[in-house]
Amino acid sequence: MFDLFNYDFFVYALIATVSIGIICGLTGTYIVARRMVFMSGGITHASFGGLGLAYFMGLPPMAGATFFAVISAFIIQLFSGNKRVKEDSVIGILWSTGMAIGVLFIYMTPGYAPNLMSYLFGNILTVTSGQITLAVLLCAAVIAFFAIFNRPLFYIAFDREYSRSHHIGINLLETITTLIIALSIVLCMKLAGIILVISYLTIPQAIAGLFFKNFRSQLVASAIVSCVGSVAGLFISAGLNFPSGATIVVCFLLIFAIAWFCKKIKIFKFYSK
């Protein structure tokens, strides 16, 4: 197993996996607490439109995906609370049209799109040094952001309207959080792919939620579970030559099953009420 460390691509993948694990653990806790999972799915699938467009134009696919992810995140935020067009409808529209635009542009692009499957199902072993730098930088920014603003973020997630009634720049904080969510999702696509991203943003949080009824504890526990599951999945996928994204999701599921069983038979008593 330690032979794997002799390969640069595996070390790169490991660094990216840990960074993305922390990012998803933290942002996912906020997403789940604010019941924004469907929104995250919408952003993820809408970004496929940007990916297809970038392919068509000969630009870096991740740049296109990032652009579409950020734009769709802000469109959803704009329609949040709109009485005429429901937020769910907007998400559904972005979800399906993003995929449709992506498919059309890839169809119109001459030749074969060799990396398409890696964007749909993820392949962390093909991560580039530039993407690792981005992942590490975003990871540091997300940790700092949640460390400094965890209290207002916690209150926004609990009662958004009440928090806004305090007039202390909650809208700006929400906008920054939306941007961070969009960027996290795009980075996570490299690891898990568009189809599986949601599992990174929900399963570690569900595991943390089994044991902790405190937002800050859930933040830390989700990040740890996310890292452990991702790294375990990466080693198994590299050892058995399995697809990394799917293997990591199965690892999360196994951890969830074990955690649920432990909770059921009350093995751990340390967790907070």
Binding site: A33, R35, N82, K83, R84, I148, F149, R151, P152, F154, Y155, A157, F158, D159, E161, Y162, S163, R164, S165, H166, H167, I168, G169, L173, G209, F212, K213, N214, F215, S217, Q218, K273
Partner: protein, 223 residues
């Protein structure tokens, strides 16, 4: 402090959602010791009016004049059916969230803040629930906790949106005397469907059904 001194004025305010006007040409003045009861049919604009007062909705026309600093001006008790009872938050943290304007985005709580929260919970009869998860509270207990959250920052105006909905009869009986007591220190604006109770306690009664009209009300002294 002059009790008749206005803290806030709404002048010809029209507001609504997504271009659709819900309240029109509303004029209202909130003075220092006011106790204003707001009644009206569902969809008439009661909650919209509260949101305009607090600054959550920007009016289409007219103006709002604040005669005080916005910081700590409002204590707000929204309708509690919007509260997620499964959210990972305990009672004490819920109350402390009332200090958001005082603390800003990144200041930490002091021991004094924790003591203030615990003392408030104690004085409203829910002190023993301080470390409990909010999902363990009854409807009435949760409203008391949310009232603590609304008043912990010592606001000048307390805004309440249907505070006795989803609560039991005991809570309804106790709640308005608590508000009456609070009214000695701050102004109160409350939306209620319970016409009989609200007209007993409110000094001013207004009806909102797109337009705002003043209703005759019994003085508190007559109760």
């Amino acid at each position: 402090m002059d009790t008749s001194e206005p803290v806030l004025e709404l002048i010809d305010v029209s507001a609504g959602y997504d271009g659709e006007q819900v309240i029109e040409k509303v004029n209202l003045q909130i003075a220092n010791d006011d106790f204003i009861g707001i009644i009206g049919p569902n969809g008439g604009g009661k909650t919209t009016l509260l949101k305009v007062i607090i600054g959550l909705i920007t009016p289409y026309s007219g103006k709002i004049v604040y005669h005080a600093d916005l910081k700590n001006l409002f204590g707000y008790l929204p309708q509690n059916n919007f509260i997620d009872r499964n959210f990972p938050i305990n009672v004490r943290e819920t109350v402390l969230s009332g200090l958001l304007s005082e603390k800003g985005l990144n200041k930490f709580y002091t021991n004094d803040d924790y003591r203030r929260a615990d003392a408030l919970l104690e004085s409203y009869g829910v002190g023993s629930y301080s470390r409990r998860h909010i999902g363990e509270l009854s409807g009435g207990q949760l409203q008391r906790v949310l009232l603590c959250r609304a008043v912990i920052s010592s606001p000048r105006i307390l805004i309440l949106d249907e505070p006795t909905t989803f609560t039991d009869a005991d809570f309804e009986r106790d709640f308005f005397p608590i508000l009456q007591d609070l009214n000695k220190q701050l102004s109160i604006v409350v939306v209620s469907h319970d016409l009989e109770t609200i007209s007993s306690y409110a000094k001013t009664l207004v009806r909102v059904n797109r337009f705002l009209t003043y209703e005759p009300s019994k003085s508190v002294a007559d109760v």
